[in-house]
């Protein structure tokens, strides 16, 4: 998926809904993110395009809510509850994910295997 600033992004996405888990007074999702427009995209080990400053899932807590919901390491988060995540700073993404007043986050994620699966099946690409 190439990314050109100012151009609409096309990607095969998967919807993932994660029920936050309460730990003490924290709500946790059970994964960690990397990336953001303020980060060095060259250090992102998951992105195909090393200029991609998107938010990526870097780690997943075993048995955590994210894993249960089907999130995978290396997924690129496109949206969080409808908010675009492809042009945000790392901190903005973190905040968007950790809103205390939301128990559920709905993610749109894309990953290589999705695209491949779609391409292989000659299916149409979902656009958004």
């Amino acid at each position: 998926m190439s990314f050109i600033p100012g151009q609409p992004v096309t990607a095969v996405v998967q919807r993932i809904e994660i029920q936050k888990l309460r730990q003490g007074e924290n709500l946790i999702l059970g994964f960690s993110i990397g990336g953001g427009i303020d980060q060095d995209p060259g250090q992102n080990p998951f992105s195909e395009d090393k200029t991609d400053k998107g938010i990526y899932v870097t780690r997943i807590t075993p048995k955590g809510p994210a894993e249960v919901a089907g999130l995978m390491m290396g997924d690129k988060i496109m949206q969080v509850n409808g908010w675009d995540m492809t042009m945000v700073t790392h901190d903005q993404a973190r905040k968007r994910l950790t809103k205390k007043n939301e128990d559920v986050v709905r993610l749109l994620v894309t990953r290589k295997s999705l695209e491949e699966a779609v391409n292989n099946s000659k299916g149409h690409q979902a656009r958004h």
């Binding site: 998926m1 190439s2 050109i4 600033p5 100012g6 151009q7 096309t10 946790i28 999702l29 994964f31 960690s32 993110i33 990397g34 303020d38 980060q39 060095d40 995209p41 060259g42 250090q43 195909e48 395009d49 090393k50 200029t51 870097t58 780690r59 700073t89 790392h90 901190d91 973190r94 994910l97 950790t98 695209e115 391409n119 690409q125």
Partner: protein, 1023 residues
């Protein structure tokens, strides 16, 4: 040996190309003069001289000679038949003259012609040998096929002409069989073997046999036959079907091969029979030895060759051909090639293995051959008149120069030498096979390029390629003999075999320092022809050859614009874009493709790299070439993504980008709109100091001064804006040349600077930032700020520690341009000063790294730029212990430019009155900061000339300086370099580690990032 040789020959052209690439150095564009120079040259393509008209040995004369040869052949065939009978009779009889005087079969034939009586005896002698050989061959046969295949494969592979030749050989073998038949019956199972053959199997094997046995077979004498041979053969033996002959004689390879060879080579040449009786003797022993060896060789060689192509196909082809009576079909071609090819190839191997380096061998050959020259005339062949003519014409060349190249192979065997005495020298192998054989001389080879039969052309071209490999003399000779227009003409030949080989020859010819060869190719419209072929062909190998040739040609300045005019868009469309993975209209469904670092891409990018240095016009053409910049950028992004950025292709791409980035702010269409509006008015606070600095600057032409001055003012103005500067919003993605200076490229170059291990790539990437950071327009402001925000300054500073002189220089100049940005200047002054200073020589000792004068000057100028307008930076300079070094340079440097640059820095430092106290405390006084009496005037005189002619602003001037070293600098470099070699060798390690340690511990690279730009750095946060 044979196989080995093949491999070598194959490799050699490649090596050539590689070398060439090294030669072609990326040059920063500095002048546009190339364009003008080209104008004359550009003239329209001249009609390619007709090949036939082209040489004295015109097609007509060749045909005539062929006919004569055919006639001769008939005679020979008759003689052969007689011989056969004699042989059969004499089989039982022991050879009258044992080894000593055994003539080869072919010799016998010859003898018969000349003196029939002798012939008989000769035949007798031969028989025993033949038998022995044949046995060997038979054994080999099983194994041979493999080797055969491999050989054939090579044909398909195209590149290896050697291989091709082999194929031809096979066919020839068949022919041989026929002739040998008489011999075969004597000692060998030949009839049996032949019968099953179906010619196919045999033919293949033959080939081998030929390799092994040909030498023995000597019968090549019969070779006098021309291509017509087949026809004549049929005629003479018309009663018996060919198949019969084949069966009976199939085993004997030698004869046919020789014939074939003859035809293809120069008619005139082939016919000479060995005059010298002793020759046979020497011959014989070799044969016995050689056979086994050859077999071995084949086996080995064959395998390596196999991968190259699909030999099977060829084999099939050849087989049917044998059966066919038609001489001119494919078979003919092969035949013609056969002997020659063999020889050259074999020779080639020798060359390559032995190394062309042993060119002396060639000389030897020549010497020996010369006597032979007369041979043809002496003989009373029917052909003679024609031959003589040809020979005479050739003669001058032959004796002196031309024959020699071919002779080279001979050096290997003494036997060949002996023969040589008799004849023109054949390759070693050929000699063994048949003393009569000799390599065609250069004139003959060139004449063969115009031969009506395509395989002859292609073989001749392949042989030329071989001869020209790393042999400047022969290249020159080919040029003088007007071989180049013929080769260029062959580029348009429809048969791939022909244009491929021609292209290969042109590539080798175009390689090297002799620019006349390149001009010769251009003058006969070789460049458009190459480009045409590039459009036409899909054969990767041909494309490699074409682009390799263009790369070679592009190293000569006057040809650059020609290449741009004819080939730029084609190279871009045919090679750069497809191989870069970039797509005009990216398909949303497909992911972006990665660049493929193919040889074709490497060659083409190398060519473009060279032509991109040909001045403003060349840069304009490249920038505006549709898709070029986009594709190059895509390729580089892909290289970064794959972390594969040390290869030559990447280096070429970065160099092109660097060159195209030069003067973008002046040369790009619409650049005016982006000129910094604040430039004209609003003198900055820096004004006075700028001016002062300028006066002190070593680049101080009046005009340059003013420009620089203006720049300074602009800078002062702009600096304040940087932090708030927002990158321009784009409504649509930029494309084409706009991509060159978009802030996005900064990240690309920084990635390269971080990851690449290739000094040239590092230098070019730093040079690109340097170019982009120069000038006063909106985009350079963005670039300078972006480098900072992308944390590029620490990366650059780190590279100041590079062991590569040119990298240090490029980085230093880039830092200087970047410090036009006020915040950059502050950061660099605070954090990079020690690294800059540590590159300076201390006292009389050259710097640890033994940097060139250019580099030292660049660093001094950068320091000067940094301390100008900033007493803070001047203070850090003092703290970095720089004053001592600067004073030492000012006083003792042998280089006026260094002296001058150091002096400027010192004056600037002294101009800060608040620093004088500290300086005085350290024991310095005013005199230390004043130009030394002797140095300065000297500097003005000697230092300026290199730059005086330019009106470019300081930094741009410097660019030129670093990209193209002017002559004077070079001289200095060499002078100074030698003295401190030892230092360089041991110092770097020590120094490097200590410095690194220092920096790492005390001043983490991160600190060089502007505080304002530092963002929270959560690499990773749990949610």
């Amino acid at each position: 040996m044979f196989v080995w040789a093949f491999l070598f020959s194959l490799r050699s052209p490649l090596r050539d190309a590689a070398i060439q690439s090294n030669l072609s150095e990326p040059r920063l564009p500095h002048s546009t003069c190339g364009v003008t120079a080209l104008a004359d040259i550009k003239g329209k393509a001249q009609p390619i001289p007709d090949m036939e008209d082209y040489d004295v040995r015109s097609a007509a004369s060749i045909l005539a000679s062929v006919k004569e040869q055919e006639a001769r052949f008939e005679q020979l065939t008759r003689a052969l038949e007689e011989e056969r009978r004699t042989l059969q009779l004499g089989r039982d009889n022991p050879p009258p003259n044992p080894a000593t005087s055994q003539p080869l079969a072919w010799q016998q034939v010859v003898m018969q012609e000349q003196s029939p009586s002798n012939a008989t005896s000769m035949a007798m002698m031969q028989e025993p040998q033949d038998v022995v050989e044949e046995t060997v061959t038979i054994e080999e046969d099983p194994g041979t096929p493999t080797s055969h295949v491999s050989v054939v494969t090579s044909d398909d592979g195209t590149t290896r002409r050697t291989e091709t030749k082999v194929t031809k050989m096979v066919k020839t073998v068949t022919t041989r069989t026929v002739r040998q038949v008489p011999l075969g019956p004597d000692g060998l199972p030949m009839p049996e073997g032949s019968s099953p053959l179906g010619s196919y199997t045999d033919s293949i094997d033959r080939r081998y046999m030929k390799n092994g046995g040909d030498r023995f077979i000597t019968p090549q004498a019969s070779s006098t036959l021309t291509r017509s041979y087949n026809n004549s053969y049929n005629d003479s033996y018309g009663e018996t079907p060919e198949s019969q002959y084949i069966r009976h004689y199939g085993l004997h390879d030698g004869y046919t091969d020789l014939t074939d060879n003859y035809g293809s080579l120069s008619r005139g040449i082939n016919f000479r029979p060995p005059r010298y009786p002793y020759m046979p003797n020497s011959y014989r022993p070799e044969n016995s030895y050689t056979l086994p060896n050859r077999k071995d060789d084949y086996g080995h060689m064959a395998q390596p060759q196999v991968p190259m192509g699909s030999s099977t196909v060829d084999l099939n082809r050849s087989q049917p051909e044998r059966f066919q009576p038609e001489p001119y079909g494919l078979e003919d071609d092969r035949r013609s090639f056969g002997p020659e090819d063999e020889e050259p190839y074999e020779l080639e191997p020798d060359y390559s293995t032995a190394n062309r380096r042993t060119l002396k061998g060639a000389n030897r050959g020549r010497t020996h051959r010369e006597p032979l020259r007369d041979g043809p005339r002496v003989r009373g062949y029917p052909d003679e008149p024609i031959d003589t003519e040809l020979i005479d014409e050739r003669h001058p060349y032959i004796q002196g120069i031309y024959s020699a190249p071919l002779a080279q192979p001979e050096r290997g065997s003494m036997a060949s030498l002996d023969r040589m005495g008799g004849r023109r020298s054949p390759s070693i192998d050929s000699i063994r096979k048949d003393p009569r054989w000799r390599d065609p001389d250069l004139t003959e080879v060139i004449a063969m390029l115009a031969h009506p039969i395509d395989p002859v052309k292609s073989n001749a071209a392949a042989y030329l390629q071989h001869l020209c490999y790393e042999n400047d003399k022969i290249k020159k000779d080919v040029r003088h003999l007007k071989g180049i227009p013929v080769l260029v003409g062959l580029l348009d030949h429809p048969k791939s075999e022909v244009h491929r080989k021609a292209c290969g020859a042109l590539r080798n010819i175009s390689y090297g320092k002799d620019n006349d060869n390149k001009v010769a190719i251009k003058n006969c419209d070789g460049i458009p022809a190459l480009v045409r072929l590039l459009r036409k062909t899909n054969d990767m190998e041909v494309r490699e050859l074409i682009t390799g040739t263009l790369w070679n040609l592009s190293s000569y300045e006057p040809l650059k614009m020609v290449i741009i005019n004819h080939g730029l868009q084609t190279m871009t469309n045919e090679v750069i874009i497809p191989h870069s993975g970039w797509e005009h209209e990216p398909n949303e469904d497909s992911k972006p493709r990665d660049a493929e670092w193919t040889t074709v891409f490497k060659n083409t990018s190398g060519c473009l790299r060279n032509v991109s240095s040909d001045g403003a016009e060349a840069r304009r053409r490249l920038r505006e070439c549709d898709g070029l910049v986009d594709a190059l950028l895509h390729a580089l992004q892909s290289a970064v993504g794959k972390k594969d950025m040390d290869n030559k292709s990447v280096e070429n791409c970065v160099c092109i980008m660097r060159n195209l980035s030069y003067h973008v702010h002046k040369e790009v269409p619409g650049a005016d709109r982006f000129q910094d509006p604040s430039a004209p008015q609003a003198p900055g606070s820096a004004g006075p100091q700028r001016k002062k600095k300028d006066d002190a600057g070593c680049f101080g032409g009046k005009k340059a001064k003013e420009e620089w001055f203006n720049q300074g003012r602009k800078n002062g103005e702009n600096d304040k804006n940087y932090d708030t500067l927002d990158l321009p919003k784009r409504t649509e993605p930029s494309k084409g040349f706009e991509l060159l200076y978009q802030p996005e490229v900064v990240r690309l170059y920084l990635s390269l600077l971080t990851e690449s291990q290739n000094y040239n790539t590092l230098e070019a990437a730093a040079g690109a930032l340097q170019n982009l950071g120069a000038g006063q327009w909106t985009w350079s402001n963005y670039i300078r700020a972006t480098v900072r925000k992308e944390k590029g300054l620490p990366i650059l500073v780190e590279l100041l520690r590079s062991d590569s002189d040119k990298v240090v220089r490029a980085v230093a100049i880039a830092l200087r341009n970047l410090s036009i940005d006020r915040r950059n200047k502050d950061l660099i002054g605070s954090y990079a000063m020690r690294d800059l200073v540590s590159n300076l020589p201390s006292g009389q000792q050259r710097p640890a790294k033994n940097l060139e004068e250019d580099t030292v000057v660049a660093i001094l100028n950068t320091i000067h730029e940094i301390v100008t307008d900033s007493s803070e930076n001047a203070r850090s300079l003092i703290q970095a212990q720089a004053i001592e070094k600067l004073v030492a340079i000012n006083r003792t440097s042998q280089s006026p430019r260094e002296t001058k640059a150091a002096s400027h820095v010192l004056q600037t430092v002294w101009s800060y009155k608040d620093l004088r106290n500290a300086l005085t405390k350290d024991g310095w006084n005013k005199s230390h900061f004043q130009p030394t009496a002797t140095a300065t005037p000297k500097a003005t005189k000697n230092g300026k000339p290199g730059y005086d002619d330019t009106t470019l602003p300081l930094m741009e001037k410097n660019q030129d300086g670093y990209s193209t070293i002017d002559q004077r600098d070079k001289d200095c470099k060499y002078k100074t370099g030698d003295s401190s070699v030892d230092l360089t060798e041991r110092e770097p390690l020590k120094n490097d580690t200590s410095r690194k340690h220092y920096i790492r511990s005390n001043r983490p690279a991160v600190s060089l990032v502007d505080a304002c730009d530092v963002k929270p750095q959560p690499v990773d946060s749990w949610v």
